[in-house]
């Protein structure tokens, strides 16, 4: 579904050029849940935005469903770290925002909006304004907003990192359920190993400065995965250990200038 080939991205900063991403090669299959994990500054958000069409690669290319990505697409939905809800619109109207922008018929998507809100437990809040909701609830609304597009691909940029630990776990479990139900292809950027192991089929580990693909780890734990009992804890521990090893040890990747090694 998604193909990233030899993609690089360099930014021109005040103090010279910053090579954010270098030579990333990645494919994400249809319906696959791919997590992208790495430390701060490793370029994972940049990678996501390249897939979204919000940034153009300075080298290589990104394509979705065989078509090269040049601009944001309507079948690709993005969920950001902050909910980005319009504060003057009710929850319901926020969820229906893509429908308005795409000039789809509101009446046809109204029921779908209700359905999504019920699925995420927000049915009683549809007329409320965003400031009346907690952070976790706002993020759920932004999830519904992404899903109303019926996207082929969902790109999520650390969507739960602004939330407290318990809400994070709750939403992660919910996201897994949504993924199992809808079968959407998801690329999920995170810096939480726990989330990656719970949600992903494969995890792409990025190293920093410049961002390069270090390794892709396959997570074979059967679904549905959970944090509680019957959680295949041994396999979870194995996968977590592998990711810890990759993320928290120093490594010298080829072509990394000495001064920029993490």
């Amino acid at each position: 579904m998604i193909t990233v080939s030899a993609a690089s991205r360099t930014f021109k900063g005040k103090s010279g050029r910053v090579e954010a991403l270098k030579d990333i090669n990645l494919t994400v299959g249809d319906g696959e849940f791919m997590a992208v994990i790495g430390r701060s500054g490793c370029g994972k958000s940049t990678l996501l935005r390249m897939i979204a069409g919000l940034i153009k690669p300075t080298g290589g290319e990104v394509s979705i469903a065989g078509n090269r990505v040049v601009a944001p697409r309507r079948d690709v939905a993005m969920v950001f770290q902050r909910p980005a809800l319009l504060p003057w619109r009710s929850v319901q109207d926020n969820v229906l925002l893509p429908v308005e922008i795409f000039r789809w018929r509101r009446s046809q998507h109204y029921d779908r909006a209700q359905q999504l809100l019920e699925m995420t437990g927000l049915a009683g809040f549809r007329k409320r304004l965003p400031h009346e909701l907690s952070g976790g609830m706002q993020q759920r609304v932004s999830l519904c907003r992404a899903l109303i597009q019926n996207p082929k691909v969902m790109l999520m940029d650390e969507p739960f990192s602004a939330l407290d630990a318990l809400t994070r776990e709750e939403l992660a479990v919910e996201l897994q359920r949504i993924h199992m139900e809808l079968g959407t292809t998801i690329v999920f950027v995170t810096h939480s190993i726990q989330e990656a192991v719970l949600l992903a089929d494969r995890v792409a580990v990025l190293s920093a400065r410049p961002g390069q693909l270090r390794q892709i780890v396959k997570i074979d734990i059967p679904r549905p995965r959970s944090f509680g009992h019957n959680a295949h804890l041994e396999q979870v521990a194995d996968a977590s250990a592998a990711l810890h090893q990759l993320l928290l040890t120093e490594v010298h990747l080829p072509n990394t200038p000495p001064a920029t090694r993490v």
């Binding site: 979204a52 601009a71 309507r74 980005a84 319009l86 304004l129 909701l133």
Partner: protein, 262 residues
């Protein structure tokens, strides 16, 4: 989340109606006290009863003069608001136009309007027009500046959301930027309200025909200080009423602004 509004109806009435009135009563009381204690000649500072007497001598005359000034203020303010908003929208939309026009606007605003008043007499003579022009000149700059600040301060996450939904420039402007700018627009309108009254009075003082400014000039000629004070009190009341009128409209149109700020 917003704070739960504490208090019964009674405490709301207390804070919003009784306390302000109490404040005014205390101020007037102090004024009265000072004129008695310091034995001030009514020629210099009349006491509150003197002012009330002066008002009651010719109430209909004073009220009709108030209405004339108010009309000029309202018409001028309306024109300033509409023109100011349109100019601000154009300037916020086009960097080129903004760079070209802003210095001119700032220059026009820097000229003391009192200096322009005699010129207005030459160009437009007596009557309503020069006063209305003065109101517009004095009050439109704050509206332009505030509206522009509002339009250019759309948060990055909302702009990115609009881009990710591939919204057109116009859609982003109307659905996101305009509503976001509303609180700032109202700041500009609230700043411009007292300025509008100042503008009308300047016009009437320099070219006296009708209106409260003319009353003040006339009372100076006949050394009728209580009358001047009566006119000042009426001007002050007009100003307060207009300001709170705009504030009430703001509460109605942008209920969400205070919630975000808190």
């Amino acid at each position: 989340m917003t704070d739960i509004q504490n208090g019964s109806r009674l405490s709301l009435v207390w804070t919003n109606a009784v306390l302000p009135v109490l404040g005014a009563v205390v101020a007037v009381g102090l004024w009265w006290l000072l004129t008695i204690v310091l034995h001030i000649d009514p020629f210099y500072v009349p006491s509150p009863p003197d002012v009330v007497d002066s008002f009651l001598r010719t109430p209909t005359y004073l009220l009709s003069e108030t209405w004339i000034t108010l009309q000029r203020v309202l018409i001028g303010f309306g024109i300033a608001a509409v023109c100011g908003l349109l100019i601000a929208v154009v300037l916020a939309a086009s960097r080129t136009v903004e760079r070209m026009a802003m210095p001119l606007l700032a220059a026009v605003n820097a000229v003391p309007k009192v200096a322009l008043a005699p010129l207005l007499l030459v160009w437009m003579g007596f009557g309503n027009s020069p006063k209305i022009v003065m109101v517009v000149l004095v009050s439109f700059f704050p509206i332009v500046v505030s509206t522009m600040a509002g339009l250019t301060s759309t948060p990055a996450d909302l702009r990115e959301l609009a881009r990710s939904l591939s919204a057109s420039w116009w859609q982003t402007f109307v659905k996101v930027r305009l509503s976001w700018a509303l609180p700032q627009v109202f700041v500009g309108l609230k700043v411009a309200t007292p300025l509008a009254i100042i503008g009308a009075v300047i016009g009437e003082v320099v070219n006296p025909d009708h209106g409260l400014g003319s009353v003040i000039v006339g009372s100076g000629a006949s050394s009728d200080t209580p009358l001047a004070f009566a006119a000042l009190v009426l001007l002050a009341v007009t100003g307060v009423v207009l300001f709170y009128f705009v504030a009430v409209i703001e509460r109605g149109l942008v209920p969400w602004a205070r919630a975000i700020a808190s």
